[in-house]
Symmetry: C2
Subunit: 247 residues, 2 copies
């Protein structure tokens, strides 16, 4: 019987930090995860694709640093970013249980990730059921986030949407220790925000200006500052429940 690491423990990697919010893992589980990922690190340059729709990948990717996005493209070229991948996220089991990717994953900032072959990943999940359970919980939280994005695009206006996005990112980055008191590092361009929020570039620009002049954010260069998170949450009708971070 190995000692269990309490949920509050600050793991070495963002992935472990996040999984510990869902289940307590034994030192053995954590060692296995660390060992598994250590030698399989890959890197993707900013603005390059990691997986493309239609691929049938035989690896599962765990994101360690940098930002990436899931996106889908319509035949006529319209693009939608359907989700953002932050350090500690992993490409869900799509790649694994379903045959073909129904969307693409692209790096936004330079990304490092661990790429695990199917068989190793499978062995890990059978040998370390606690890890498997934490990963399934994380997948379910991802579904919940996807539903919230559906709500965001369906009911909130542009101003509320962007405010909501910034709140969500704050919470998700906070879990993996990537926020500071003022805000966080923010590599998205305005065009990225537009594609994620289903609005035009021009309107994204004007929405950001509105948020700035309301004093809710300041965004310059690659750094986002949130002077009053509660106010931003109100503006975005944000409630963190759907992230299931308190399980």
């Amino acid at each position: 019987m190995t000692a269990h690491v309490p949920p509050g423990h600050v793991g070495t990697s963002p992935l472990i930090r996040k999984l510990l919010r869902y289940t307590s893992l034994s030192a053995d589980d954590i060692a296995a995860l660390e060992h598994l990922t250590r030698d399989r690190i890959r890197q993707a340059a900013a603005r390059t694709d990691i997986i493309v729709e239609g691929d049938a990948p035989d690896h599962v990717n765990l994101f360690l640093s940098g930002w990436a996005c899931r996106y889908k493209v319509l035949e006529d070229g319209r693009r939608q970013i359907v989700g953002l991948l932050l350090p500690g996220d992993f490409c869900d089991f799509n790649c694994f249980y379903l045959r073909r990717m129904d969307h693409s994953v692209g790096a936004i900032a330079t990304v490092t990730y661990a790429s695990l072959p199917r068989d190793l990943f499978e062995r890990m999940t059978t040998e370390h059921p606690a890890v498997a359970k934490a990963m399934w919980k994380d997948t379910l939280a991802t579904v919940a986030t996807q539903r919230e994005w559906t709500l965001n695009l369906g009911q909130r206006n542009a101003y509320e949407r962007v405010a909501h996005l910034f709140c969500e990112l704050y919470r998700r980055l906070h879990v993996v220790g990537l926020t500071d008191a003022q805000g966080y590092s923010f590599p998205l361009t305005q065009a990225d925000i537009a594609e994620a929020m289903g609005i035009s570039n021009v309107h994204a620009n004007r929405t950001l200006q509105a948020l700035r002049s309301a004093g809710l954010i300041s965004l310059s260069g690659k750094s986002l500052t949130i002077p009053d998170l509660a106010a931003l949450q109100t503006a975005g009708l944000f409630s963190a429940d759907y992230l299931h971070l308190d399980e």
Copy 2:
């Protein structure tokens, strides 16, 4: 060793029909599923809630007949239908692995469903790994559908959105044998369509009129007719890949 039922087999229940598209199940697996659901059938009247956001349910629900929807509500009352539940769908493991529901589920037409206690469900998944695998695949297909809805709301206009919805429903109903040559039974009101597509009632009405006068659908009473599915798919920029029905 029990005989395996081939994927083409028409199961007795919509659930089994659908699961057989993901994995072949043994006669034993199917019997277990049927036995498990037989005595735990519940019914919900049209326009009543089955699960409410904030609940911590201790059952997993498998939908057997009728239509239901997942929906979320903003503080100021705006509602968004974030997904539709058809016969053969099941309330994903949200209820199971995550503590609290982050959305509600409501019946649209009268619904019958099997409600399985956690422990029985858990025993089934350990004793019948093929069933568990099929259910996980189905859950992943649900995530993919949720992403497609995000794309739908983010990039398609009202006309394309509604066309896309009708195509998706056709495919999903077809899998469980609930379509005929002309179309399918359609219990949604125009207000439901509006809430699912993120548009106003008035605009939903006008969009339906546009689809009708383009000859793409006829919708009267509770029955939807699609004279030319290919044309509707083109109008909705629909491709069925994301449903993962051919695995």
